[in-house]
């Protein structure tokens, strides 16, 4: 495992950048545990102060230090992302494995429903949900809801991996030699399926946190909890751009960009590392 990281660090520029970005994010998360300010309290520092040594990201119109608020924001957004990732992984693996192994009409029905979910325009539906659950909405609930919508794309990937594994000779050999089906799945196939699950988790994080940002900005989640999206929401509410508090918008935007780019580059470089065909392509010339 460590060797993989070392190789990637040495040879893949994208991984290096991703590594730096993500370390920054993790640092921010850890900092949230030692924050000198309570994110729930407002008007604790001077309002609308531009970035300085004392307040790295400046302060906002509510008298809150933006940097320390953002550390909580990052932590919350990521926690929510993890919840979504967990739920959707379980669903995706479940659906993907069943569809792949059983095949036949069950597979067709599952994939049909699966594709419907992929195609559905989620935002209107989520807005509907957000609207209805407004009072109860918090990040945890949002994470759960997103989890229930985030599985179809990955279920399909897992299923196609299972399909190709089923046809491989080592599977047939195991079946012919009388190995229990469950055992085959666990011992022989899982090592192939897990890397895909890992790679799709990153993709899923990207998607769910992106959704959170979007929904929060539209005012549809728990606005008292710090998150990257709610930061932008409050900035807009207080007319940050017009009032000239550009740092209030810039900070969450910057943090978001670092987080998303970091995740994406990680995803891309790991994907390429796993896929032998892209490795071959890198060789050309």
């Amino acid at each position: 495992m460590l060797k993989v990281i070392r190789d990637l660090l040495k040879y893949d520029g994208r991984f290096r950048i991703a590594f730096i970005f993500l370390i920054a994010v993790v640092v921010m998360i850890f900092l949230s545990f030692v924050s000198p300010y309570d994110p729930g309290k407002s008007f604790v520092v001077a309002m609308d102060a531009p970035p300085s040594l004392k307040h790295i990201f400046g302060t906002d119109s509510r008298g809150i230090d933006i940097f320390w608020w953002m550390t909580f924001a990052v932590r919350n957004s990521l926690v929510m992302g993890m919840i979504t990732a967990l739920i959707s992984r379980v669903l995706a693996i479940f659906v993907g494995l069943i569809a792949g192994y059983r095949g036949g009409w069950l597979d067709r029905v599952l994939m049909s429903i699966n594709d419907s979910f992929v195609v559905l325009p989620l935002l209107p539906i989520l807005i509907l949900l957000g609207f209805l659950l407004r009072d109860q909405m918090n990040l945890f609930l949002l994470g759960v809801i997103l989890g229930f919508f985030g599985w179809p794309y990955d279920a399909r990937l897992i299923r196609s991996q299972v399909l190709s594994l089923k046809e491989r000779s080592f599977t047939r050999t195991a079946v012919y030699s009388g190995t229990n089906g469950f055992w085959i799945t666990f011992n022989e196939h899982l090592p192939f399926v897990l890397p895909i699950v890992f790679a799709t988790t990153i993709n899923n994080l990207l998607w769910s946190i992106g959704m959170e940002v979007t929904l929060s900005v539209l005012g549809l989640s728990d606005l008292t909890t710090p998150s990257i999206g709610t930061a932008l929401f409050w900035a807009n509410q207080h007319g940050a751009l017009v009032a000239g508090n550009w740092w209030w918008i810039a900070a969450p935007t910057l943090v978001a960009i670092v987080l998303f780019l970091g995740l994406y580059l990680l995803f891309a470089s790991i994907n390429e590392y796993i896929d032998p065909r892209t490795r071959l392509r890198l060789i050309g010339g």
Partner: protein, 330 residues
């Protein structure tokens, strides 16, 4: 006068990814000549370098494959070409398909799946000779495929509507459309059933006898060589082991590897047990020293492990690279 002279050709695959570099010496010091109006067979097991040789000869080297040293010289009568130095533009305009054409391994899938056959014809012909008269072109295409035993309907079909054998024959038809001086065919009969194989081979023979050009036929199937080739060259681990007229190869092979290949062919009436060679094919990234065949040779001597045997002429048109055989000794 030789059509093609290959001298000391070395072509390697060089790869470097995630810090691991590897050089595969697919063709390592190959020299031979091709003459007009013959069918020249290249035999050997998988990954002995046959396909790489064809690629380099027909100017299809793409990274990571590179010709490191040696020469590949063509003599098309009125003009000569150094294949290793010639420009891509020159290749494209005058040489490809007009003087040399290539029937690839797995010709089943060489046809663009979203285009009709006639369109593929058009694409290829239009590259070299502008098609002025559409109607005339259609007629000529029809005549050409008919002459090669294919029905006219083939032209209007999509590749997936044709069987594997038909697609192979279409590929050969495409390769011969300009009557090139050299046609290189890489495993044209693999993955075809025997009946279709015969059809394809017959087609190849007919084309050759009609246009008096040269066909370079690469296949591991010795039976195919026995059927069509005039001369056969045996390759092993990127080097030539033996080269002789077909009859000689089959009746009096001199190299132990060739002997083994011939002996392993089943023959009607024969009932003896077939023995297999010990060992495994060599790793071309790390080939054995000396004679590359020595780990598996039943007659191996000490000198074989350290010195590379030279390819020497032992008889008229018969060359062998083996320490057991001395030059001119036959």
């Amino acid at each position: 006068m030789a059509l093609l002279t290959v001298n000391g050709l070395c072509a390697y695959y060089r790869t470097e990814v995630y810090g691991i570099s590897r050089t595969v010496r697919a063709v390592d010091g190959v020299s031979f000549e091709l003459y007009p109006n013959e069918i020249y067979g290249v035999a050997g097991e998988s990954s002995c370098g046959k396909t790489t040789l064809i690629k380099v000869i027909s100017g299809n080297t793409k990274p990571p494959l590179k010709a490191i040293s040696g020469s590949v010289d063509y003599n098309f009568g009125d003009y000569k070409v150094d294949m290793l130095q010639v420009s891509q533009e020159e290749l494209r305009r005058n040489i490809r398909w007009k003087e040399i054409s290539y029937v690839m391994q797995g010709s089943m899938s060489v046809l663009n799946p979203v285009r009709k056959i006639i369109k593929t014809f058009e694409d290829i012909i239009d590259t070299h000779e502008r098609i002025r008269d559409k109607k005339k072109f259609l007629e000529e295409a029809q005549t050409h495929v008919n002459r090669l035993g294919l029905p006219t309907e083939v032209l209007n079909a999509y590749p997936h509507q044709l069987s594997g054998g038909m697609r192979q024959r279409v590929a050969i038809a495409l390769a011969t459309v300009f009557h090139p001086s050299l046609i290189s065919a890489d495993e044209p009969t693999t993955a075809l059933d025997v009946v279709v194989q015969r059809g394809v081979l017959q087609m190849v023979k007919d084309i050759q006898s009609e246009s008096h050009n040269t066909v370079l036929l690469v296949t591991h199937d010795m039976a195919v060589h026995a059927n069509v080739a005039d001369r056969v060259m045996i390759m092993y681990a990127g080097r030539i082991m033996e080269e002789a007229p077909t009859e000689r190869i089959f009746n009096a092979p001199l190299h132990p590897y060739t002997q083994h290949l011939i002996r392993s062919l089943p023959m009607i009436g024969e009932r003896s047990n077939k023995a297999s060679l010990r060992g495994t094919p060599p790793n071309l990234a790390n080939p054995p020293g000396g004679c590359r065949f020595h780990p598996r040779c039943p007659f191996v001597m000490d000198v074989c492990r350290t010195e590379i045997p030279e390819l020497v002429l032992v008889r008229e048109r018969h060359r062998v690279a083996c320490h057991l055989v001395k030059e001119g000794s036959q």
